[in-house]
Every structure is written in C-alpha cells, then in structure tokens.
C-alpha cells in the first residue's frame, strides 16, 4: 500500500473509483498570491481602480481554467461545477495580489482541484499581463482554504 490513493498496489497511476460515493453538495475555496515590484503594483492598482482589465482578464482566465481542471490534471474526475467565483484583493504591505477561488458542485468527488486550478491560472495571467514591467514577480501561497461535503466533512486550513 502506498498511502496515495492515485497509485495502485503495483505503483501505477489510477483514476480513483468514486462510483460508490453518494452525490453530495461539495464546496472548496483556495487562495494564492503574486508579489511584484512597486512600479508594477502601482500600475496595477491604478489600472484596477479605473478599468480593471488586468484583474478582469485574470478572473475570466481563472474561471475558464477551473472548468478545464479535468483535462489538465491527469487523474481528476470531470465535475460539472454549479458555481465558481474568483476574487482579488490588492495587499499594499506585501505588494501582492491575493486571489481567492470558490467552487461548488453536486458531485461524488470534491472540487479542491478546481479551486486551486482557478487560482493558479488567474495568477499566471496576472504574471503574463504585467511581465513587461516586472519579470521577477513570484507566485506563492497557493493552498486550500476550505473543503466541504462528502464523507470527510468540513476541513479548514489552520491559519
């Protein structure tokens, strides 16, 4: 036994059998950050205030990316999402953009990967749109915040 559900007893990758799990309401939230230099943060902040197209584009990219989760992550099941939101916050102290993605589905398996993929795709899009100003931006702190539904019930990140 490997301990990893996606690896069988012979060491091969498998798509876990979720056929016996009941369909329940599933929710997951994930967050992530991108840190940039002062010039870039200032431009984003002003742009976000007036027009919003960097974060607006990143939001659409994140939503569409989340819907592609099962075609990006090899062993993920296809889950038809019933809701998805992506919110951004500009954090002055750390010159960072925070992204939070919340996903919901009525499904036999969780939607953590959808929330995490939504956050990642949104942050990569911020990088792409701002890279002419700052190539050294760093994406960090991508993690699950919360997961609800299914046998394991509610799980929340500690801090």
């Amino acid at each position: 036994m490997t301990g990893f559900t996606h690896i069988d007893s012979k060491g091969s990758a498998v798509m876990v059998d979720v056929g016996d799990k009941p369909e329940t309401e599933r929710e997951a939230a994930a967050e992530g950050f991108i840190r940039m230099n002062e010039e870039c943060f200032a431009l984003l902040k002003n742009g976000a205030h007036k027009k919003g197209d960097v974060l607006g584009t990143a939001r659409i990219a994140g939503i569409m990316g989340a819907k592609k989760t099962s075609s990006l992550i090899p062993l993920c099941h296809m889950v038809p999402l019933t809701a998805l939101t992506l919110d951004f916050e500009l954090i002055e102290e750390s010159l960072s953009v925070k992204a939070v993605c919340k996903a919901k589905a009525k499904a036999v398996t969780g939607v953590e990967m959808e929330a995490l993929t939504g956050v990642s795709t949104a942050l990569l899009t911020v990088y792409d749109m701002c890279k002419a100003v700052d190539r050294a931006m760093t994406i960090y702190g991508i993690r699950l915040l919360k997961k609800q539904g299914g046998k394991s019930g509610l799980w929340e990140a500690e801090h």
Copy 2:
C-alpha cells in the same frame, strides 16, 4: 499609457502585435515548489525511489500543460515549442518538491509563460495525487529563472 503591454490606451485587453519581431531562438526556465508534511514527503520519497509514478505523472501533466499555455492564458500567442523538460528535486530540509521547467522555441515571442505554466501544472498534479495524505500542502516560489532570446537578450533572476 498604462505601462502594461497587454492593455491598450482605452484600457482594453489586447494580444500584443508581435508581427514585426524577428524569429529568434528563445529559451526560458522557471521553478516552483510544493511543501508537504513529513508523512507525505516520506511516502513521496519512497515512491519516487521505487516507482516514480507521482512525479512521473506530474512531469507528463506539466509537459502537456505547457503545450496548452496559449489556450489557458488569454493573451498568450501560440508558440510551437521545440523542446520542453521538467525536472524534480526532493528537498529534505523544507519537505518540498522543487520543479524546474525549461522551454525552447524558434519564435517571435518568448516562452516564459510556457515554462511557468509547466511548473504550475506539475505542482497542481503533485497536490492532486498526494492530497489524500496531506490537504494542507502549499505551492510557493513559482518564478522565472532565466529568459533568453529576442530584443531584450538574457535575463536572469537575481538569486
């Protein structure tokens, strides 16, 4: 003027015109990390030694993800890559997996986003395959290491 090349003077998102740039050899390298708890790291380390399927699967996911960059990141140009590698390193001190993705192309635009998308997709796949053991894993330190080719020449991350 916004300072962001992907936003035009009216504040609208645009795919930058690269039609006048000459085709040159392009290279980019990016890195990223995922930190996990001791139990998970030990399982991965043993598994990696014997069978390699978690990291082997993450590598394939990263390579395929990099090839999908222009369909994930809204304003990215399609760049036919000539080479792509993804390497992993287990870092004992920080209980982390490090992923490094190197991309190459003969193109009119850079391949940074391909390298960053390769890293992100690989790390999300590690999360997916190990999440039954540790849900609190964090992805961090995704950044460009190096970029070569085109008008701006060589760029390297400072440290």
Copy 3:
C-alpha cells in the same frame, strides 16, 4: 444591482450559482442563416443534392462546437447534453442556408447557449468551405427559437 446575472454587485464577472436549482428536462432550439451569391448557392445546392459534404461537415462541426460551449463561453456551466441535432434548409428566395440546432439535457441550467453555439459553428463552417467562391457571405438572424424546462418554463420567439 446590475440586472445582469453574470455580473455581481462589485461589477465582477461570475459563474452564476445554480446549485439550488432542481434538475429538470431542458430543451432549446436556435436558428441562424448565411446568405451567399448566386454562384455559391448553386454550387452548394448541387453539391448538397449529390454529395452533401459541405452541409455534412457543417453539421459535424456544429455538433462538436455545441459540446464545447462551456469552454468557449466563459461563464457557461458544463451541461452533459442528452441529444443534439442540426438541420439545414436551402432557401432559394434569399440565397441562404438556414441552420436549426436543437439541444436537450437533464440539467440545473438551460441549454440555450449550446443551441446557439451549434448554429454559429455550423454557419462559420459553411463560410469556411465556400469562401473561395464568395468572400462576401453574411451570417445573420442567429437567435433563440424556443426554450423549455426550469423555473421560467416555456419561452418561444415571437415570430
């Protein structure tokens, strides 16, 4: 309040939460047209009579396009369709091809976008296959004909 369900109170795009809606039988029909010059219409008419490959190809393109709706339209939910048909009619008086797409699903949200995307993709394919003969073809009259199922019940276009 914006009045648009896909825009939240802060003006951000959202994938509407359909998690509380019951799964019901959904149906939608959409139509659209493409007008061409006499030479092109005659070729299509003769070809359609004998071999049918322009419209046969457009039908397949429309069916496959409709299945891709949620990856094309950013805020659409993924809906597993239970049926999809695409029919064409040659309209002599207006030198036009009419396309009608009917979609069905057992779902928590409607399938209007699937029917409309099916029609659009089919008509774009007719354009592509006939453009060597007539570049000035115009696509027009793409609209919803009918929508059934869900809280709002039956809706039909007025004329």
Copy 4:
C-alpha cells in the same frame, strides 16, 4: 470539379494543401452585431461605462475563441496569430453592440476564419451574459470586412 476548394473530385472534405504557398503577412478584419431590447441596451451601456465587465468578458472570450479556430472549424489550418484585437461599439439607433475583430499572422494561409470566429464567440458571450434580461436578442451582420496578404492580395467588403 466542385468549385469548393474544401471538396475534392470525389465529393470528400479535405484540408486544402497550402504547402506550396509562400509565407506572407496576412491580415483580416471581420464585424458582427447583436441587437437587444431597450432595457438590456441601457444596462449594458451603463455597465460598460462604469465597469465594462460584459464587454471585457466578451473581448477575452473572442480572443480565446479566435485562437481555437482550427479546432472548431474542421478544415481550417492551424495559424499561429501574431496579433488579435477585438473592439466594441454601442450603436444607440439600432440598440446594438458592434464587434470588430482584427487578426494578423505570418502564414501560408489567410486568417479570415480567425477574425470571424473571434466576432462570433464575442457576440455569443454578450448573449450569454445578457440573456436573463432579454432572451430575444439577435446576432446579425457577421461578415468579412477586409483581407490582405497572399496571392489574392487586398479584398475589401463593398459597403
């Protein structure tokens, strides 16, 4: 001979051989419209003025849709675009949104289909985002405005 380049002498669909055509600068522009009722137009106009998320989302959808052209239109060649823009105009008299998509590439075949697919996808997205307010919206007037490059040179729509 059928007159259609995508149908061979046996009546079968073919992807035309463009291997002997020289790579040249290609440009295409296409336009299209969506007409709505007064309430919907007013909401869009106010929203567009303040936040722009309906048209901002439609722009991203159109750009991403144009990049998917060769996977939507069966016999289209893959063309790596060097530039793509999508612009919208609100036309008060006809209660319509006008979309114009311009595509460029250095390629052996034209980019008309990319421009037309960009317009279509953008207009379908406007429909999706506004359909809760007006289901009877109609998409019309999708056509090629201009095409440049390649053997046939410049072509412009007559009016």
Copy 5:
C-alpha cells in the same frame, strides 16, 4: 431506416437522444495491442522493469485521452467517468504490448467509446515513444471486451 442509430431517416448524422434512458451503473473494458521488433521490445521490457516511463507515460496519455472521448468522437455524449484504469502486459511470444482499459460511470449511455479511446491513445503513445527504434510497429486487435449496464445488459466478446 438505416440500422445505424447515429444516422437519421434523411441520412444525416445525429447525436442519439438518450434523454429517456435511466441513469444506471455502466462499465466497459477494451483491449488492444502493439507489435514491435525484438530490439524495441527488449528495450521496452528492460525500461519497463527499471523505470517504467514509456508505459507510465502511455497510461497517463490513455487516461487523459479517454476523458477527451466526447470531444474526439463527433456523436459521443459527454459522460463524467467515475473510474478509469489502464493496464499493460508485455507478451513475449508476439513481441507485443497489450493494453486493457476499464471505464465506469453512472450514466444514461455506455462507456465503450471511452475504453476504446483510452486503449487507442495509449498505444499511439507507445508508438511515439518507441518510433526512433522501430518505425514499423503495428497496432492491432483493438476491440471491446465487455460492456455492462443499461437496457442491453451484459455483453462480452466471444473469445
């Protein structure tokens, strides 16, 4: 009547209406083979023993390919799979790799095409990874082994 469920009375391709079929447990298994020369088989055998990356990669490709079935096969319905496995066996006598793919879903339609597409994609990937050593490899014997669930009940291949 044509006898083919995907062709209607006018000879047009249709996505069969499965809206009235009840959702039941569905299972399908398919197999397929690829035969190669001795040198190639020996390399694969040794590699499979020590590192497994050819077959490990083929497994991931097959799993991801199976999830794409409805976007590859024009008239297939989208079926969210609940389980998918791909197993390989090296057959010394025939210098062949055997691939077996098993798919499961709770659905209104069967998952035969998913199992067959999984096998095909895996075998194509083996070809791709080994073609530098043997270009004359042949893929053969792709067939359905078993199908369960739905009105027609259990079906098994004869030998």
Copy 6:
C-alpha cells in the same frame, strides 16, 4: 542510454529537443482497418453509396483528431499541418473499412503521429456510429506506410 529518444539518461520522459533541426518538407502516410460482421458491412456499403454520412463523419473526426495530436500524445511537438487527407475503401473480402491518412507540414519534426492519430480517430468514429449493429468490430493494422523529409529521408513500409 535507453535507445528511446523520449526517455533521458535518468529514465524521465522528455519532449525531444528539435531546435537544431532545419525546417524541411515533411510527409507521412498511415493506414488502418476496421472489420465488422456482414450485416454491418452491408449497411455501411449501402449507406456509403447513397449518403456517405458514416464515412463522411469519420473523415471529419479523423482530420480534427489529427490536428489535436500534440494535445493527445504527451511528448509530441505542435506541428502546423499544411495538408491532411483521409480516404476510405470498403474491402469486401475482409468485411473491412480501410482508412488512409496523409499529412504534410513544413517543419523541424515529422508528421507520422498526425497521420496515425488521424487514422485511429477515424476508425474509432466508425466503431461508434456502427456499434448498435455490431459491437464486436475490431480495429487492426494501424501502421505507418511512408515517411518523407528530414535527416532520415524516405522510409516506406516493407509490404
């Protein structure tokens, strides 16, 4: 050294570096077969004569599948094809359909995988469309017929 170009010295999968190879005219042809029972063959033969929609649909599926090669086969490079044809032949003696796919590109790497993927997707589509009549159909004899261009020059299958 493994002998397999897609496996590096550590046993990891890699996308081979083709950056130093010159762009040349590439061609490849592949074939494959599907065998069915008499009833199914007769229906297909009659249908093919009159309406052609099974093989017409399979042809479109094959062409679109070939264009997706690099997203299906993990280590394949993206190659913009300049031509692609798919032809079918009904072989009375063996109750089989033969599919031949020819692909061309001006590229730094070959197009064998595109031709093989085109054949495979087309044959899977024939299976899908005829499976209600014969579930025991077998796909066989998928192999490369010819490959031209690049350093290794012309290669042809022996018989």
